[in-house]
C-alpha cells in the first residue's frame, strides 16, 4: 500500500473534487464513527449494481447527527469503484447535502429523516425527502436510492 502525506493525498483527491459537490466529504475509511454520548457519526456504503453483475460503484451516505438535539448534516453520493476499491471520483450529479430534520432512537435502531438542501436538480426517482434507518446490532442501514430501497453496510468504529 502506498503511503503519502496529507498534502499529496489532497492534491490527488482534489482531482476528484472537481466532480464532488461543495460540502460533500471525500470518503475516507475509518474516519467516521460514534463520538460521545449524543453524536452519531457514520458512513453507510452499498456496492452497485447487485450480483451477478460486478460491483462498479459505491453508494455512500455519511455525516453526523446529534441524537439529543435531533439535528445534523449528512451527504450522499455515488463513487466510482466497488466499496473495497472506492475512488474519490463522484459521478457528476449524484452528490447531495442533506439537512437532518429529525432523529429517533429505539434500542439499537436510529431513524434519521431529512431533506435535500438542493432540490433544483433531482434525478428521476429521487425524492427531496430523505430517510435512513440504521441498525447497530446488524451493522446495516437501509435507505433509498432513486426510488429503490437498498441495504447498506455500516462503517463505524467506537
Amino acid at each position: 500500500m502506498k503511503t503519502m502525506d496529507r498534502r499529496d493525498f489532497l492534491k490527488i483527491a482534489g482531482a476528484g473534487s472537481v466532480v464532488v459537490a461543495a460540502g460533500v466529504a471525500m470518503p475516507v475509511a475509518g474516519f467516521f464513527g460514534w463520538t460521545g454520548k449524543d453524536v452519531l457519526r457514520f458512513r453507510a456504503v452499498s456496492g452497485m449494481p447487485k450480483a451477478p453483475l460486478p460491483t462498479y460503484a459505491s453508494y455512500v451516505i455519511e455525516g453526523q447527527v446529534n441524537l439529543r438535539a435531533r439535528t445534523g448534516q449528512l451527504a450522499k453520493s455515488v463513487h466510482a469503484g466497488a466499496p473495497n476499491a472506492m475512488s474519490g471520483v463522484v459521478f457528476p450529479g449524484t452528490a447531495r447535502s442533506i439537512r437532518v430534520t429529525d432523529v429517533k432512537q429505539s434500542g439499537n435502531e436510529v431513524l434519521i429523516t431529512g431533506e435535500l438542501t438542493e432540490r433544483s436538480s433531482l434525478l428521476k426517482g429521487e425524492s427531496p425527502l430523505f430517510t435512513i434507518r440504521i441498525d447497530r446490532s446488524t451493522g446495516l442501514a437501509q435507505a433509498d436510492f432513486l426510488g429503490t430501497n437498498v441495504v447498506m453496510k455500516l462503517d463505524e468504529h467506537n
Partner: protein, 335 residues
C-alpha cells in the same frame, strides 16, 4: 461505462489513520480507456477511422495526455489475438499549454512487444485543448488528439440501479480525450476477414513499461469481471483470454459463462466475447450488431443487453448523440 471509470486498479493511499482509494487506472484517468471505435471512412471505404478515447469526465479529472504513457491501437491480422500491427501514440510533456503527438506504426514481431517502436507515420501533431479541432495530415494518414464530446451513450445510473433504465443518458454532456486516426486499409494488413483491434495503454514504471488498461468491445471488463479480476484481465493480452484464470482459479471463459447463465444469456457467448477483441473486417460495412467494428452511433449497450440477457432486456432507452461530425475527426465538439 463502456469502460469509463472502471479499474485496472485504484491506488490505495494511507494518510495517517485514513485510507482511501484514488483511481481509476493506477490512479490516473489519463490512461483510463473509455471506448474504442473502428469504422470505414464515410464516403471512402479504402480508409478506416480508428478511435481510442480516454480520460472520462474530461477535463474534470485530467486535462492532458500522459507524456510517460504509450497509447496503442493494436491490430491482429491473422486471428490469433496477437498484435501484428500496432499504432503507438506518444505525447510530449505539457509545455505552455501545448502537447505534441507522434504516431509510430510497428509491424511484425515488434508489434506484439511492449515498446513504442516502428516508423513514425505522424509527428509533431498538436493536441487540441479547445473547441477547434487541430488536424494533422501526412500522406494517407490523418490524426487528431484532444478533448471532444464523449460519443458514448448509456443510462449509467440505470445500470447501477440494477437495470432500472429510467434515468436518461448520463454521458450526454460529458467529454473525453479522443485519439482519432484515419488510416489506409492497407495499413491494417491484407486479410480483413481475420482482422481485429483493441486499445491498450502502457505506463512506465521503474524503468519498464507495464500494461495498464485495455479495451475492445464495450463494457466487457465492466460487466463480466469482478474485483481484482479486472486488474488481472487488464494485465494480460487477448491471446491469453481463453486460458488465463481468475483469482477464484477458474478460467475467464468459465467466469463469463457463469455471469451469462445468471443473466439469462447463452453461455456459448463466452467464447464469442473472448478473446476480447473488436473484429473488424474492413472489406464489409461496419456494424457492431454484426460484430464487425464499431461506429459512433452503434447502440452497443442495446445490442449487448439483448445478447447477455437472452433478450430479457433489449434497451436502456437512450440513443446516439446528435453532435457527431460528418467529417474528420467525427467526434463532436467538446461541451
Amino acid at each position: 461505462m463502456a469502460d469509463h471509470l472502471d479499474v485496472p486498479g485504484p491506488i490505495a493511499i494511507t494518510v495517517d489513520d485514513d485510507t482511501a482509494n484514488i483511481g481509476p487506472p493506477m490512479g490516473d484517468p489519463k490512461t483510463d480507456i473509455t471506448d474504442v471505435y473502428a469504422f470505414l471512412k464515410p464516403g471512402d471505404s479504402s480508409k478506416s477511422i480508428l478511435i481510442l478515447n480516454v480520460n472520462p469526465l474530461a477535463p474534470a479529472l485530467a486535462s492532458s495526455f500522459d507524456s510517460a504513457a504509450i497509447y496503442q491501437i493494436n491490430v491482429d491480422t491473422n486471428g490469433d489475438a496477437v498484435a501484428d500491427r500496432s499504432f503507438r501514440i506518444r505525447f510530449s510533456d505539457l509545455q505552455d499549454g501545448e502537447q505534441k503527438a507522434t504516431v509510430h506504426l510497428a509491424t511484425g514481431a515488434l508489434a506484439a512487444r511492449l515498446n513504442d517502436g516502428g516508423p513514425a507515420v505522424i509527428a509533431g501533431a498538436p493536441v487540441s485543448f479547445g473547441a477547434a479541432a487541430r488536424v494533422t495530415t501526412r500522406g494517407d494518414y490523418r490524426f487528431f488528439a484532444g478533448i471532444r464530446s464523449d460519443p458514448f451513450f448509456f443510462d449509467l445510473l440505470g445500470f447501477i440501479d440494477d437495470f432500472n433504465f429510467s434515468h436518461g443518458d448520463f454521458f450526454a454532456d460529458k467529454n473525453v480525450f479522443a485519439i482519432v486516426l484515419e488510416v489506409p486499409n492497407s495499413a491494417l494488413g491484407t486479410t480483413p476477414h481475420t482482422t481485429s483491434l483493441w486499445g491498450r495503454t502502457l505506463l512506465a514504471r521503474n524503468g519498464t513499461l507495464v500494461r495498464d488498461d485495455r479495451m475492445a468491445r464495450a463494457a466487457i471488463n465492466t460487466v463480466f469481471n469482478h474485483g481484482q479480476d479486472k486488474n488481472v484481465f487488464n494485465s494480460i493480452d487477448p491471446d491469453k483470454d481463453l486460458t488465463a484464470t481468475t483469482t477464484e482459479g477458474i478460467t475467464f471463459v468459465q467466469s463469463f459463462r457463469n455471469t451469462l447463465a445468471a443473466l439469462g444469456g447463452d453461455t456459448a457467448l463466452a467464447t464469442v466475447l473472448l478473446p476480447d477483441v473488436l473484429n473488424y473486417d474492413f472489406s464489409k460495412p461496419t456494424s457492431y450488431a454484426a460484430l464487425n467494428g464499431r461506429r459512433l452511433h452503434d447502440d452497443v449497450i442495446d445490442i449487448s443487453l439483448s445478447l447477455i440477457t437472452g433478450g430479457g432486456l433489449t434497451t436502456d432507452h437512450v440513443g446516439p448523440h446528435t453532435d457527431y461530425l460528418s467529417g474528420f475527426p467525427y467526434v463532436g465538439t467538446p461541451h
